[in-house]
């Protein structure tokens, strides 16, 4: 029986350790990737002053099923960053509503000082579109604030 290599086994030069020097780069790459791709809100904030409500509750619905309708003090309506005429609202909302299997929740984000006549028009438009679930978006009011008023 001959000894493999004639008994002179060569020392392996390949390192037996897993190369870990690039691990940091990979981790930082992931970190930066997530930081860059995180999108917080699909539509940018409009300049409105929120109304305050003590009984405001979280909207229990997936983000994709919530449609934000902004209403500025002048009564201008914005949906998905686009201004709309009041009369167009039901025509725009109706296909979105049926497309979501009637799960769509409308979040009305109105300025606190908008005259109520615009809100009433908006509600009538939403009723015409067949929408049932509506939320009047408001900031949570602390009871301390309320007592000061």
């Amino acid at each position: 029986m001959s000894i493999k290599g004639g008994g002179f086994e060569r020392k392996s030069k390949t390192s037996s350790e897993i190369p870990s020097s690039s691990l940091a780069d990979i981790a930082f790459l992931l970190l930066i990737f997530f930081m860059v791709t995180t999108v917080f809100q699909s539509d940018r904030d409009r300049p409105i002053t929120w109304p305050e409500a003590e009984a405001a509750q979280k909207i229990d619905e997936k983000q994709k099923n919530i449609l934000n309708i902004w209403m500025e003090r002048s009564g201008t309506v914005y949906m998905n960053d686009q201004p709309y005429q009041m009369e167009q609202v039901s025509a725009v909302v109706a296909p979105l509503y049926s497309g979501s299997d009637r799960a769509l929740v409308i979040s009305i984000r109105g300025d606190r000082d908008v005259p109520y006549r615009f809100m009433d028009q908006l509600q009538k438009e939403l009723v015409a579109a067949g929408v049932v679930r509506v939320v009047f978006a408001a900031e949570l009011e602390q009871s301390m604030q309320r007592e000061r008023r």
């Binding site: 930082f28 992931l30 997530f34 305050e52 983000q63 006549r117 009047f136």
Partner: protein, 140 residues
Amino acid sequence: MAVLNQKKQKVSDEIPTSSMADIAFLLLIFFLVTTTFPKDKGLAIVLPEQGEEAQVSQRNILHLIVQPTGIVDVKRGEATQIQQMRPQEIEGLWRQEVTANPNLIAAVKTHPDAAYRYMVDVLDALHAANAERISLQILE
């Protein structure tokens, strides 16, 4: 000469990078865990279906008329007498009224020129009092 006796320095002159990966992953996991997406808050209501009109006895309606000043005129059903209130007082009123009549419906009628926030104040008070039957209208 002392040069010959100088000991070789054993401290490495490189910055240790082996723990860098741990630090980066730690940061990654920290941000993944602590990221909270802001959830919207608001007062939920259910709009009536189109063409759905229910006839309600005047006896079961509590009219809450929101004036442009923010003062609320409270009118009970058929009664002609009007009581003026601040929105914050509606909560107590509703609790009182609903124990007397469990079928009561709150009809919030807002003046066209009244600011939206006064309506929200009244709605807030009704929500705080656990009112479920609320109707939102415009004052004609």
